[in-house]
Amino acid sequence: MTDERPRTISRRALLRGAGAAGAAAAASAVGVSAQPSTTPASTTVPAGAVIQPTETVTTPVVYEQLSADEAELLGAIADHLIPEDEHGPGAVAAGAVVYIDRALGGALSASRDAYRGGLAAFERYCRSSRGAPFRELSQVDQISALIDVETGAATGAGSGFAGSSGAFFGMVRGHVLQGTFGDPYYGGNRNFIGWDLIKYPGVRTAVSPALQTALESGELEPNHRSAYDSDNFEKAIVRSVTREMRHGD
């Protein structure tokens, strides 16, 4: 499996873990969608702890497609793939789990069963191989379990992955990357955390010589704008199977 991220980010995947650092507690599996109006403080919590909104979160996230437990587990996995470290906030703070949850109601709806089955199989694998659910394992055992899922070694270990465990890992990794570095319109890359992480200055529909010079000298300030803030781009409208909604809502 290759590392597809720009060279400005060292490969942090599966090298560090901070337990289940979550964005917010999930209140319900189905309900009115809401987005946090502020970026929650990244909090390192012990494995197994219940994630509660911090005082900086004014509105908790309500997950629509994922159960509370699934969202928390997915957040714990995402926190290993792109953890918070000296480079900046990680995937959880960027809202990658929110992105995945929203996308499962739209463009990624075909993956809902894969997530449900895969997350359950992953927990079964952790219990059978290491004696506890993922969030209760030590940091090293969490990383070791993820490596085994990534390499496909968890397949055939009595966990019940449909197909190779590596396919499940690849799916999650790809969506975590999308949710961290994609356009915020789609629900992730909250407050442009992902774009700031890779020093991407943002979409510009016209580039003057001065802007080009600033970019090449590394002095171009990020504009923190979604591509869809510009009328030049047609907003993608994805209808859920249950109700009509924008993908980015």
Partner: protein, 194 residues
């Protein structure tokens, strides 16, 4: 029926290759036999599942003795000659081990920032078949037992190797320097989804 016959033939070939061990074209067979043992597993017997992805997937403890005189450095390679295209599939490489070490403890680190034990100062975990610098244990297809060669090499001088070597790189670097060799050869089999 033809498919079953071909499968049986392939299994026989695989088991034969796994039994004969390292191809002699890759390393001169040394005269001195090192005694390699483990407190946790035996040659010819099933290794504990905690050294596999069915358990915690820790590296197993290995000890060696009766090193040849003049040993200056040690290397260890874990290979499955019944897997890989071409074989072997490499589960672990660790080299530049000080000659003063008498073994590898259980559970060597998988995190880059975690140091090896002091008795292994300077040792380097090379790249296994997954291109990872740490141990990953057996995960054979269900129903087929595989054989795992943990081979210890005694070298006549420190090779000054850097990180990132795989098995082929290591064998090439060790060529002409191996003065002793020994192994412990446990087996492992999976039995399918329960």
């Amino acid at each position: 029926m033809m498919k079953g016959t071909f499968g049986e033939l392939a299994l026989c070939i695989g088991l034969f290759l796994s039994l004969i061990g390292p191809r002699t074209v890759e390393a001169q067979p040394p005269a001195h036999r090192i005694l390699v043992e483990s407190s946790a597993m035996q040659s010819g017997e099933t290794m504990p599942r905690d050294f596999t992805p069915d358990g915690r997937n820790l590296s197993p403890p290995i000890t060696w003795s009766d090193l040849p005189e003049g040993t200056r450095e040690i290397a260890v390679v874990c290979s499955d000659f019944g897997a890989g295209n071409p074989p072997p599939w490499v589960h672990w490489i660790i080299y530049s081990i000080p000659a003063t070490a008498n073994g590898l403890p259980e559970g060597l680190p998988i995190l880059a920032e975690t140091a090896l034990p002091t008795e292994l100062a300077g040792a380097i975990q090379g790249l296994n078949g997954w291109r990872r610098p740490y141990y990953r244990g057996p995960a054979p297809p269900p129903g087929t037992p595989h054989i795992y060669h943990f081979t210890v090499y005694a070298l006549d001088e420190p090779l000054g190797l850097g990180p990132g070597l795989d098995r082929e790189d290591l064998l090439r670097a060790m060529n002409g320097h191996v003065i002793g060799q020994g192994d412990i050869v446990p087996i492992y089999e999976r039995f399918g989804n329960e």
